[in-house]
Symmetry: C2
Subunit: 346 residues, 2 copies
């Protein structure tokens, strides 16, 4: 049934919101304005999901919170079913390892130069660890390619350098230090440093919200604004999850048998944690923003947050992508994300 | 590209083969004949995957090794693309928790009786832990329902009782002991006990090959043949995997640039483990059955196991489901599965 298919978009959208929360938090602390958050985590999960249909569903769920994506199938789904006009996620021209390595090891600098030169009007992303990342940043981007980078910047476009191996925090910090030594930096009103606006670091490689939080914390401690780094994620956004991730189990709670209403529930003695909710359920939110479920019909119907969307094959509420995005905006009523992550650790 | 889509079926089929290996191993030790293996792990993963398309691809990959499945989409795919006739996987009539709990807690025994009575010609599976699993087995299946179970058995059909919570090994062992005390057991030629042929235990709930191996080892130590238990798995068969599970990364290794052949590879200094293979590659198998990859064109072309399947949009080799299943049969050249699992733990 359609019910058994909702765990996946629901789980992606929830994890995706935690990701945005983390970015939001550090942007507020080190930059002041969190509105950049939807552009700082790029969905590169197309190749990492189990099918094209999953790519479409997962990417669309992620696009509720983010607007940076290479998983085009997500935009197609939102245009078809959620009245989206235009595109759901934006991208730029980036090199993969094979774009660099197929030039041959001796020609690495020519590969990067080619990417920048042939993309004069757009932001570009260059993978820099095909061989020796430090040589690449010091001598190529900070040396032979420097004029090209500056010219790209003068035209209003960004060059992102992408490390793709090693310890995330150590590598990113060292990348920033090298780029600062070659291109300088500015300090913002909150006292955090920013590379020139035409330079940024793009970090993928096994990224999830915990790793993102650890990188941004290290950047903060070292005086760097979180705007110096954009992240990319694939499997962690769209594949590494299952029904256990958010404990998505659907159980019958109520039935009418021969005219008689009965509460339905399971309560296995070998695992009390699997006891299910019983009777008519309703969902409520108090003034502090906390959610709770009322069982056995005890909830106030007038404040029930559950609503019927599908009924007997009919779509009763046709939400647009814009409405859903608006509803998902992070507000002061939301949880303290760092406190939440620490709780999960304990 | 189609290349980026192969990691998923490839990973499912590999994990699935490890599952069959484990069953094969314990059937050989405690029963003598491993040919039952393809029927002892049931795919109930449809609700646990991220889309219908993923269900089809994953279930089809699993059906290379198994013939027990509720994920009908897998059969549809094999019929459409791999010349399968008939069905790929068989099933029986089983209750879910809601089938039992919607009768009301007081009517549990009636729910089980209903399932057995209304399915006279087929094997049935009864989930027994909705409330008190021991009460259910002792007093219902071993008491009030005993005559029904015996009659079902006389007609040549099996009643499987399905625990679904608690510690796998402890719960299964106790289930077997209770059923033995009520229905007796027989000892096979290898000295292992078997419940009467019309009775079996079906174990799902978070099953994977490690848990399956631990359950079968405990059964063996306690004198029970592995034929007393059938397993079910959902997420572990079809969802809990990603490109990192088997390190499925596709890298360019060879290119011809302006007529010149070059070896293409990456070798990041921040993670030597990510160094990729270079040049023309070929795949070889020695007399002991060990596989190896030859790089830079050094392999003997005549013994290369790689073959072209798709080329320029054309399907050059059209394998049938039967051929693939035949190729995947476990032989004496295969690894020692318990040794392999122990290696993975260290």
């Amino acid at each position: 049934t359609v019910l058994s298919q909702v765990w996946y978009p629901l789980t992606v959208a929830t994890i995706s919101r935690i990701n945005k929360h983390v970015l939001h938090h550090y942007l507020t602390l080190t930059h002041g304005d969190p509105s950049l958050a939807p552009f700082l985590l790029h969905d590169c999960g197309y190749r990492g999901v189990s099918s094209v249909e999953s790519a479409a569903i997962g990417a669309a769920a992620n696009l509720i919170h983010f607007q940076s994506s290479d998983t085009v199938a997500g935009t197609c789904l939102l245009r078809k079913y959620y009245h989206l006009e235009g595109v759901g996620g934006y991208s730029c021209n980036c090199s993969e390892h094979s774009c660099v390595t197929s030039w041959g090891r001796d020609q690495e600098v020519a590969a990067h130069a080619h990417l920048i030169k042939t993309n004069p009007g757009v932001d570009v992303g260059c993978v820099v660890d095909s061989y020796d990342i430090w040589h690449c940043l010091e001598d190529m981007f900070g040396g032979e390619l420097k004029e090209l980078v500056l010219e790209h910047g003068k035209n209003g476009h960004v060059v992102a350098v992408r490390p793709d191996s090693g310890d995330h925090c150590t590598v990113i910090l060292k990348c920033l230090d090298i780029l600062e030594s070659k291109f300088g930096s500015e300090t913002n009103s909150l006292g955090y440093k920013r590379l020139p606006p035409y330079l940024t670091v793009a970090q993928g490689d096994g990224m999830d919200y915990r790793k993102m939080a650890s990188v941004l914390e290290v950047l903060k401690k070292n005086g760097w604004s979180s705007t110096n780094v954009g992240f990319g994620a694939g499997a962690a956004l769209l594949q590494k999850m299952d029904r256990d991730t958010l404990k998505c189990a659907f159980k019958c709670s109520f039935a009418v048998v021969e005219g008689k209403e009965i509460n339905v529930y399971k309560q296995p003695i070998t695992d009390p944690g699997k006891t299910s909710k019983k009777g008519r359920l309703s969902l409520h939110r108090d003034e502090e923003g906390n959610w709770s479920t009322a069982q056995e019909g005890t909830g106030d119907k007038d404040t029930d947050q559950l609503m019927t969307v599908f009924e007997n094959g009919e779509l009763l509420r046709d939400f647009t992508c814009d409405e859903i995005r608006q509803r998902a905006v992070i507000t002061p009523q939301d949880i303290d994300i760092i406190h939440f992550l620490n709780q999960q650790d304990n």
